[in-house]
C-alpha cells in the first residue's frame, strides 16, 4: 500500500492535529514533497514535532523519509488518477482517461490480489480432469478467452455462456473437475446456482468475483478482484480487463508448473496456426 492510500485509510486514527496535517498533504501532495517540515507545520497550523509524529505513525523514519515515500506514491500516479469521462470530453480526453483508469484499475488489482489464492488455483487447475469456464454477459467473453488459453494445454476444457448448457454441465461434473465461475458483481443468481450445483457434485469451484459476494460464498476458492469501476458509462470496463489479466496469470502459472518440455507443446499449437496466416515476409507485397 502506498503512503497516500495509507493516509486515507488511517484518517480516522489520527489525532486532531495529525488530521490537520493529513488534510494539507492530501490537498496538495505535490507541494508537500517540496516543502520543509517547518513550512508544512505552518500550513497545517501545528508544531513541527506534530508533523514529525505524523510521519512516524505512517511507519516512516521521519519527515525526509516520508517525503521520499510520498514522492514514490505520486510517481506511481495511476492509482490516484482514476479520472471519469465527462460529457464534454473530446476524443483525446476520453481516450486518455479510459487508458489511464484501466491502468489504475490494474495497479489496484495487482496490489490487492491474493498470491496465495492464485497459487492454490494453479494447483487445482493443473490437477483437474476437466476445466469448465462459466460466465454471463460481459463475463462470458472472459470465459471464452480463458477457454482459448487453456484449450492449448491439451486439457479437456469447456466454456458455456448459455444458462441451460451451464446447468447441464454443472450437474454432470464430478470429483476432480474444476469449474471456474466469472462474475464481477458476484450477485448473478444463475451463476450462483451453477456454482452450488457443481459443488454438490464434488467439483472444485473457483470464483473470479467480488470478495464476500453471494457467489464467493458458493466457491471452494475465491480469486477476488476489487477494482474501482467507472459506473458513469453503465458498462463493465476495467473489471473485465482485470479478469483477463488474472486468466493470463493462471494460464502462465499452469504452464510454468508443467515445466519447459510442456511449453514446447504450446509452441506447436502456435505454429499450427501458421498455415492459416500470411507469412510475415509477405508484409511488403
Amino acid at each position: 500500500m502506498n503512503v497516500l492510500e495509507k493516509i486515507v485509510s488511517t484518517v480516522n486514527n489520527f489525532s486532531k492535529s495529525e488530521r490537520k496535517v493529513a488534510d494539507v498533504i492530501l490537498a496538495n501532495p505535490q507541494m508537500t514533497i517540496h516543502s520543509s517540515i517547518a513550512a508544512l507545520a505552518k500550513m497545517a497550523d501545528v508544531s513541527e514535532p506534530t508533523v514529525n509524529r505524523f510521519c512516524r505513525r505512517l511507519d516512516t523514519k521521519g519527515f525526509p523519509d516520508f517525503k521520499l515515500h510520498l514522492a514514490q506514491s505520486l510517481a506511481n500516479g495511476t492509482p490516484y488518477v482514476n479520472r471519469h469521462v465527462e460529457e464534454e470530453d473530446g476524443p483525446e480526453a476520453y481516450t486518455a482517461k479510459i487508458f489511464e483508469s484501466t491502468m489504475a484499475a490494474l495497479d489496484t488489482a495487482r496490489q490487492r490480489v491474493d498470491i496465495n489464492a492464485i497459487n492454490r488455483a494453479v494447483d487445482v487447475l493443473t490437477q483437474a480432469k476437466k476445466i469448465s469456464f462459466f460466465g454471463l454477459g460481459a463475463s462470458a467473453s472472459v470465459a471464452h478467452d480463458a477457454q482459448n488459453k487453456f484449450f492449448r494445454f491439451n486439457v479437456p476444457v469447456v466454456c458455456f455462456d448459455d444458462i441451460v448448457m451451464q446447468r447441464m454441465s454443472a450437474i454432470n461434473s464430478s470429483d476432480g473437475d474444476v469449474v471456474v465461475c466469472i462474475s464481477h458483481t458476484g450477485r448473478t443468481k444463475n451463476l450462483c446456482d451453477i456454482a452450488a450445483i457443481a459443488r454438490e457434485n464434488d467439483a472444485t469451484v473457483i470464483g473470479i468475483t467480488a470478495y464476500d459476494s453471494p457467489l464467493a460464498r458458493e466457491c471452494t476458492l475465491v480469486l477476488s478482484l476489487d477494482v474501482p469501476e467507472d459506473t458513469d458509462m453503465y458498462m463493465p470496463m476495467a473489471s473485465r480487463v482485470a479478469q483477463l489479466v488474472l486468466i493470463d496469470i493462471l494460464a502462465t502459472g499452469f504452464t510454468l508448473r508443467r515445466g519447459s518440455k510442456f511449453r514446447e507443446n504450446l509452441k506447436k499449437v502456435k505454429d499450427s496456426l501458421r498455415g492459416s496466416r500470411f507469412d510475415k515476409k509477405d508484409l511488403n507485397n
Copy 2:
C-alpha cells in the same frame, strides 16, 4: 526524462569524481534514496560537496531534492517495464510481471494510438445501419465483448466467430453497414477475405489490427495497436487487453456522441439486469 535516465545519458559529461558518484548510484539506486550525503560520498570515495555538485548538474536543487527525483524515477520505472516471465519464477514473481507488462503495453498503446482514427471510427459507427464484429481465435472473445457493449446501444449488432457465418454475413452487407475486423497479427487469411468481401459489398471496414498488415490493407479505416507482446508463453496476452480497451474507447465515444439523453437508455439496460441479481443489501446474509 527521469533522473535515472538523465544520469545514464549524461555519464560522459561528468567529471572523474562525479562519475564515481554516478556509478555508485546506478549500482544501487534503491539504497541511495535512503542514504545521507555523507554516506554516499564515502561510498563513492569523494567529498560531500562533490555529491552536491553532482546533484546540481542534474538540475536538482540539491541532494535532498535529488533523492526525491530519484525516488520518483524508481517508482515510475517498475510498473511500466515489460519484464518477461522466467522458468524459475514463483507465483509472486509471475503475477507481478504479468500485471506490469500488461500495464506497460497499455501505456505504449496509449502513446501510439491514433486519436484521429478513433474519432473517425466513432463517426462511422454512430452512423452505421448495422455493426458486425468479426474475430477468430483469441480475437473472437474481443469481438464478443464488443457485441456485448454495442448491443446496449440499441443498434443492430452481430458477432460471429465462425468463418462460414462471417462469410455469409459479409456477403450480405451493404452500404451503411460497418464491419469491424479484429486480429492482432493482421495476417489471418480468412479474416482478410472477410474484409475484402465486405468492402466489395460497400460496407465500411474498420480494422483493429497491426499497422501495414495484409488485413490493414483491406480496411477502410485502421486502428492500429502496436503493443509489445511477450511471446515466451506462446499466447496472446497484452495485445488482447489493448484491443478491449480500444473497444471501450469506441463505445464511450459512441455514447458521448449520442448525448446525455441516450445515456439514460444505457442506465435502463443496466437496471434491467437487477432482476437477475441478488440485492446488494443481501450481501450480509
